[in-house]
C-alpha cells in the first residue's frame, strides 16, 4: 500500500461516512454540514486523479456556492417559519428494502469494477488540464457547451418563476 492508496482510502472514508450522515441524520442541519465533507472528499479524489480544474471547480462552486446557499436556506426557513427541520422516521421495512437493494447493487457494481477490463487511454503528461478543457469546449464540445448555456438560462427562469409570489 503506497502513499497514493493511503490518501485515496482516507478521502474515500470521509466521503462514505459523511454521505451516510447526510442520508441518515434526522436533523437537516447536520445533513447539510456533512455534505460539506462529502464535497471536500470528492475534491480530494479529483486532485489525486490529476484533475486540477475540476477539483478547484468542486471546491469553489459546490462548497463555496451551492452548499453555503443550502445552509442559508435551511437556517432562514427555520427562522421564518419556526418549523423544526427534521425528516420523518422511516419504518423497518423501508430500511430492510433499502439496505438490501443497496447491498445487491453495490455488490454487483464492485464485482463489475473488478472484473472489467476498462478502456485505458494513453498516458498523458501531468500538466495543467485547464487549457485542454478550454480548447475542447470550444471545438469538439462546442454544441454541448452552448446547449448547457440554454439549459442554465432555463433553470434560472424556472427558479425565478417558482420564487415569485404570484
Amino acid at each position: 500500500m503506497n502513499l497514493v492508496d493511503i490518501v485515496f482510502y482516507f478521502f474515500a472514508v470521509i466521503i462514505v461516512a459523511s454521505a451516510a450522515v447526510v442520508v441518515l441524520s434526522k436533523n437537516i442541519m447536520y445533513s447539510a454540514f456533512s455534505l460539506l465533507f462529502t464535497f471536500f472528499g470528492v475534491a480530494g479524489i479529483y486532485v489525486l486523479l490529476n484533475a486540477d480544474f475540476i477539483a478547484v471547480t468542486q471546491l469553489m462552486i459546490y462548497i463555496g456556492g451551492i452548499l453555503v446557499l443550502i445552509i442559508f436556506g435551511v437556517m432562514l426557513t427555520t427562522k421564518i417559519t419556526g418549523l423544526e427541520m427534521k425528516t420523518g422516521i422511516t419504518g423497518k421495512a423501508q430500511y430492510a428494502i433499502g439496505g438490501l437493494s443497496t447491498l445487491v447493487l453495490g455488490g454487483t457494481l464492485i464485482y463489475v469494477f473488478n472484473s472489467t477490463s476498462w478502456f485505458k487511454s494513453p498516458s498523458v503528461p501531468t500538466t495543467s488540464t485547464v487549457e485542454a478543457i478550454g480548447a475542447s469546449l470550444l471545438t469538439n464540445y462546442l454544441l454541448p457547451f452552448e446547449a448547457a448555456s440554454v439549459l442554465l438560462l432555463l433553470a434560472m427562469i424556472g427558479a425565478a418563476l417558482i420564487a415569485r409570489r404570484k
Binding site: 463489475v112 478502456f119 464540445y141 454544441l143 446547449a147 432555463l154 427562469i157 418563476l161 415569485r164
Partner: protein, 509 residues
C-alpha cells in the same frame, strides 16, 4: 497543448463549424425565438395574461418549420449532432406538437383563469422544444444528457406552472426528484460506457465495441442504466412511476405535451442509441435487414420485456381509473408499450412503423387532451362520472372524443388502426409471434376503458341535454383540424408510410 497544436485544432474545426452552422438553422431559429419570447415578455410584463410572447413563439415555430423544410443533411459539430432524415422526422413531430400546444394554451381556463404571468410559459415551451430537437439528433452521450436535462428542466417547471394548485406543485416536486434520480442513473450508465469504450460519440463507441473485447455484464449494466434514463422520458414500465401523478397534476396542455412530444423525442434517442452504438452495420444494409447486435447483449429481450410490462400494466391499471387525465396517462404508458414493440423488432421496418405510429399518435392524443381541456373549461372536472351526457350537451365534443377514442383503440377506419397495423406487421415479420399476441390482447383490453369514456358521454345522462355546452367557432375549427388527420390518415396513409420509410435510415458517422 502547445499553441501550435491549438492552431491546427482551431483551423480544422473552423471548416466543420461553418458546415455545422448551415445544418443548424432550425435550432438556431428556436434559440432566437426563445430569447425573443423572454424580451417580449419583459415589455408586456404589466399586462398579465398577455398572449404576445405566445404569438412570438408561434411565429418562431413557423420560421423553424421553414428552415426544417429546407434543411440539408449531414453530421455536424465534430460528430456530436446528426442532421438526418430520421431526426428531421422526429423534429417535425416535436415542432407540430409544440405549435399545437401553444394554440391549445390560449383556450385553457386553467392557465388563463387566474391573473397569471404567462411569458415564462411560452419561453419554457420553446426551450423544451429546443431540447427535444437536440435529442432527436444527438449522437454524443454528453449532448444526449444535456438535451434530456434541457427537456426535463422545462417540463418540471411547466408541470407545476399552476403552482397555487397543490396537486400541481406536488406533481412538479415529485417530478423533479424522480427526474433527478433518473438522470443520475443515466449519467452513471454513461460513465460506465465511457469507461468501457473511452468514447462519448456513438460512432466511436460502436467502433470500439466492434473491434475490442469488452466485458458483457458491464455493457449490459451501463445499457440498462442509460435505457432507464430514456425509459423515464417515454414512461415505460418500470420507469413510469412519475407519469400518473404528473399527468394528473399538470395543466392539461402540459400533460398533452409530455405525452406526445417528449415521448417522441425519447423514442428517437432510444432508437438511435440502439442502432448507432450497439449494432453492427454492414455496407449493404437495406430496410429489411435485421440489425445484428454486438457482444451478445440481448437488447431485443430487454426492450420486449419493457414493452410487455408497459402495455400490460398501462392497460390493466387504466381500466380502474376514474379521472380522465389519469386514464389517459395510463393509456399513454400502454401506447409506449406498443411503440416499444417496434423497437424490439430491431430493424428498419420496425423503425418506420414506430415513426408512423408516433405521427398518428400525436394527432389522436392531442385531440383527446384537447377535448378533456375544453370539457374541463366548462364543467370544471376531469372526472369520468361528470362526463355523463356530454354527448348530448355538446355533440361536437362527444363525436370528436369518440373518434379520438376509436383511433386510440386502433379500430378502422381511423388512423390509429394504421399505426397499430404497421407495428404489428413489423413484429410478425420478425417472427416474434408471442409479442404480437400479447399486443393484440392488450388492444382488446384497452377497448374497454376507451369505450367507458364514450359510454358515459352518450349512453348515460341523456337528461342533461338541456344544459348545452356552447363552443366558439375557433374551438370547433381546431376540433375539425384534429379530427381530419385522424380520419384522413386512416384512409390516405400512403404518403405518411412512404415518408416514414424514407426517413427510417440514420446517418452513422
Amino acid at each position: 497543448m502547445n499553441p501550435e497544436q491549438l492552431k491546427i485544432l482551431g483551423s480544422s474545426f473552423l471548416g466543420d463549424l461553418l458546415k455545422s452552422v448551415n445544418l443548424f438553422y432550425p435550432e438556431t431559429a428556436l434559440v432566437v425565438t426563445f430569447l425573443l419570447a423572454i424580451l417580449v415578455d419583459l415589455f408586456t410584463r404589466n399586462r398579465p395574461s398577455c398572449k404576445m410572447s405566445g404569438y412570438v413563439s408561434l411565429i418562431g415555430f413557423f420560421v423553424t418549420a421553414i428552415f426544417l423544410c429546407n434543411s440539408p443533411q449531414g453530421m455536424s459539430f465534430a460528430g456530436t449532432y446528426a442532421v438526418d432524415a430520421f431526426s428531421i422526422f422526429f423534429k417535425w413531430i416535436v415542432l407540430i406538437t409544440s405549435f399545437v400546444i401553444i394554440v391549445f394554451s390560449f383556450f385553457s381556463k386553467e392557465l388563463f383563469g387566474e391573473e397569471r404571468q404567462m411569458g415564462e410559459y411560452y419561453t419554457l415551451i420553446v426551450g423544451m422544444t429546443f431540447g427535444m430537437f437536440l435529442l432527436s439528433g444527438a449522437t454524443n452521450l454528453i449532448l444526449i444528457y444535456l438535451a434530456i436535462e434541457t427537456m426535463s428542466m422545462s417540463s418540471y417547471i411547466l408541470a407545476g406552472y399552476t403552482k397555487e394548485i397543490k396537486r400541481a406543485s406536488e406533481a412538479s416536486l415529485k417530478y423533479v426528484i424522480y427526474g433527478a434520480t433518473s438522470s443520475g442513473i443515466m449519467i452513471y450508465g454513461i460513465s460506465l460506457l465511457f469507461g468501457l469504450t473511452g468514447s462519448l460519440n456513438l460512432s466511436g463507441i460502436n467502433a470500439y465495441l466492434a473491434g475490442n473485447n469488452v466485458n458483457h455484464i458491464t455493457l449490459l449494466i451501463s445499457g440498462i442504466m442509460i435505457i432507464a434514463g430514456i425509459g423515464y422520458k417515454i414512461s415505460a414500465v418500470p420507469f413510469h412511476f412519475w407519469t400518473p401523478d404528473v399527468y394528473e397534476g399538470a395543466p392539461v396542455t402540459i400533460t398533452a405535451y409530455l405525452s406526445v412530444a417528449s415521448k417522441a423525442a425519447g423514442f428517437a434517442i432510444l432508437i438511435r442509441l440502439l442502432n448507432s452504438a450497439f449494432t453492427i452495420h454492414a455496407a449493404g444494409d437495406t430496410i429489411n435487414t435485421a440489425w445484428s447486435v454486438m457482444k451478445n447483449v440481448d437488447w431485443t429481450m430487454i426492450i420486449a420485456v419493457l414493452s410487455v410490462l408497459s402495455m400490460t400494466l398501462g392497460n390493466f391499471v387504466a381500466v380502474w381509473q376514474t379521472n380522465v387525465k389519469r386514464l389517459l396517462a395510463y393509456s399513454s404508458i400502454a401506447h409506449a408499450g406498443y411503440i416499444l414493440m417496434g423497437v424490439a423488432v430491431m430493424n428498419y421496418t420496425g423503425v418506420s412503423a414506430i415513426m408512423i405510429y408516433l405521427a398518428i399518435y400525436m394527432f389522436m392524443n392531442l385531440g383527446a387532451f384537447f377535448v378533456v381541456m375544453i370539457i374541463a373549461n366548462h364543467i370544471d372536472s376531469e372526472d369520468l362520472e361528470d362526463y355523463q351526457g356530454i354527448g348530448y350537451r355538446s355533440p361536437w365534443l362527444g363525436v370528436a372524443m369518440t373518434i379520438f377514442m376509436v383511433s386510440l383503440t386502433g379500430l378502422p377506419p381511423t388512423a390509429g388502426f394504421i399505426g397499430k397495423l404497421y407495428v404489428f406487421t413489423a413484429v410478425l415479420n420478425s417472427g416474434m409471434y408471442w409479442l404480437a399476441v400479447i399486443g393484440v390482447l392488450n388492444s382488446v383490453v384497452s377497448l374497454y376503458y376507451y369505450v367507458k369514456v364514450f359510454r358515459n358521454m352518450f349512453l348515460r345522462g341523456a337528461e342533461k341535454a338541456n344544459q348545452p355546452i356552447e363552443l366558439s367557432l375557433t374551438v370547433k375549427v381546431i376540433l375539425i383540424a384534429l379530427i381530419i388527420p385522424n380520419i384522413a390518415l386512416g384512409i390516405w396513409f400512403g404518403g405518411l408510410v412512404n415518408w416514414a420509410n424514407a426517413s427510417a435510415a440514420m446517418i452513422l458517422k
